[in-house]
């Protein structure tokens, strides 16, 4: 019982840490996307295809999910939304994080290069702000959750005895 409660606490702590990790990877990926758009003007779908093949983003299956969904959906935005709502690699993100990604997906490829730069920068700054918050929460509450879980487990164990 005690170990189950401690495990639950650790699980919450891990989720908080994982969210920050996903946000960090998304920021690196969107920065790479921005560079590709600026220097090679590749279409977003092609960039996502390339990103999904990079070893650093292997566990971020969201990009591959968009590419896969594009095969069945009628347009890029629908494919992006489908992947955002269905891919497990982004399931730990909060509603706010998802809104940022959703907004990015709706605007990718809709303007000229300088417009795309601004769109990427705007969404990057929003994600960076969320990452900062996520790191703070993870640092502040991550340990706390594990400890509360452990204490709660011990308390339940003592009470049962």
């Amino acid at each position: 019982m005690a170990s189950a409660a401690a495990g639950a606490g650790n699980f919450i702590a891990l989720r908080l840490k994982k969210r920050a990790e996903i946000l960090r990877k998304l920021i690196v990926a969107i920065t790479a996307m921005k560079t590709e758009i600026k220097f090679s003007r590749k279409p977003p779908l092609q960039i996502l295809k390339e990103l999904s093949g990079r070893s650093g983003f292997k566990d971020l299956s969201f990009f591959g999910g968009v590419v896969k969904a594009y095969g069945t959906e009628r347009d890029f935005v629908s494919a992006w939304s489908k992947a955002l709502n269905g891919d497990s690699s982004v399931s730990l993100l909060t509603g706010e994080d998802r809104e940022i990604l959703s907004s990015l997906g709706a605007q990718l490829g809709t303007t000229d290069t300088s417009g795309q730069m601004k769109i990427c920068e705007l969404h990057l700054s929003m994600l960076q702000s969320n990452l900062k918050t996520a790191e703070e929460i993870s640092a502040k509450y991550g340990k706390l959750c594990s400890q509360i879980g452990l204490f709660a487990g011990c308390a339940i164990g003592i009470l049962l005895l």
Binding site: L45, G109, T113, G115
Partner: protein
């Protein structure tokens, strides 16, 4: 499935779903003869082909007479089609849109009519697309062989392909590049294609959509003068292929290339010999003494038909005269060669 039908179905992929469904349902014979699909905002869907112009009714029936309820193309459908053609990436296709065309997978080209956005006197973008013309790419492998057998029988040389619009100049040079680089005459000639407007090789996402041969390189999107210089500096070509030569700078670079021993295959707009020899750039090119043959293509509904081939060393010496061959005739036609007559 017939290759022409396959090409037709490939070209309609970016069309809006309902239009795609209607077009997919027209008779195979019509598909095979269609070379253009025209989508105009709030206007009937029009197909153009060897039958003239045809329409699609609301029910999907093809007719050469405007039906009482033709299938109209909505503005939203047109916008959706443009987005799909651009792979949902305007920044990628911005320059192509400004230039008035997009190249699709399979080498099909889409002509665009739209309003321009001008900044400091330069067109920077387009808006409000009004109409699209999907031009279906057709396989044309082998159309240049009779010409090549005639002009390159005594070795490689620089030539000019002239003709009016839609006479098949680009098709001929594309096939020449393919044949030369794929072992024509027993050599895998090193060919560089200076494809400024993506018309010859139709490179999309780094892959040539049209067959350009084994030993060929494509420089896409560069101004021809720059492409020629880049090719000369780093690709050591034996032949450079350029489409639609017009500028002074291009001529200068071609002259530079000729002095380096490279042969050129170029195309020029001209409906007749008189028009061709009036052109300043042709005069400059002929003055180099390197362009030994001029191939004049015919105007008309069937492209790649040769009107005559002129030996520039002797302007009166026409190797072919009014001698159709190529796509339309399905054969080489009658061959007339004064030199052959002399030698028996």
């Amino acid at each position: 499935m017939d290759d022409k039908n396959k090409k037709f179905l490939e070209a309609i992929v970016p069309c809006p779903p309902h239009i795609k469904q209607l077009l997919g349902g027209i008779p195979d014979a019509v598909k095979a003869q269609t070379y253009e699909i025209r989508l105009r905002a709030e206007k009937p869907l029009v197909l153009c082909g060897s039958y003239g112009s045809g329409f699609i009714g609301e029910g999907g029936r093809f007719s050469l007479i405007l039906p009482s309820s033709p299938r109209l193309v909505t503005k939203q459908e047109l916008t959706a089609a443009v987005s799909k053609m651009c792979e949902y990436s305007l920044h990628t296709y911005q320059q192509d849109m400004v230039d008035g065309f997009i190249t699709l997978e399979g080498g099909h080209r889409v002509g665009i009519c739209a309003n321009s956005v001008i900044e400091n006197g330069i067109i920077t973008a387009v808006r409000d697309v009004y109409s699209l013309n999907i031009r279906i790419a057709r396989s044309s492998e082998g159309v240049s062989i009779p010409i090549m057998e005639s002009v390159f029988r005594d070795g490689l040389k620089s030539i000019i392909i002239a003709g009016p619009p839609s006479s098949g100049k680009t098709t001929v040079v594309r096939d020449m590049a393919r044949q030369l680089s794929s072992g024509f005459g027993g050599n895998y000639t090193r060919v560089v294609i200076a494809d400024e407007r993506y018309e010859i090789a139709a490179v999309r996402n780094g892959i040539a959509q049209n067959p350009t041969g084994i030993n060929s390189d494509v420089i896409s999107g560069f101004p021809k003068a720059v492409a020629v210089m880049n090719a000369l500096k780093s690709m050591s070509p034996e032949v450079i292929v350029c489409d639609e030569i017009s500028g002074e700078q291009e001529i200068q670079k071609i002259e530079y290339g000729l002095n380096s021993g490279v042969k050129f295959i170029i195309t020029v707009h001209a409906s007749s010999c008189a028009e061709l020899f009036r052109k300043k750039q042709v005069k400059s090119l002929l003055a180099t003494g390197e362009f030994k043959k001029i191939v004049l293509l015919k105007s008309g509904r069937t492209p790649c038909m040769v009107e005559k081939i002129i030996d520039t060393d002797n302007e009166n010496d026409e190797i072919y005269r009014d001698n159709p061959f190529g796509i339309g005739s399905g054969g080489r036609g009658e061959f007339y060669c004064p030199a052959a007559e002399k030698t028996g």
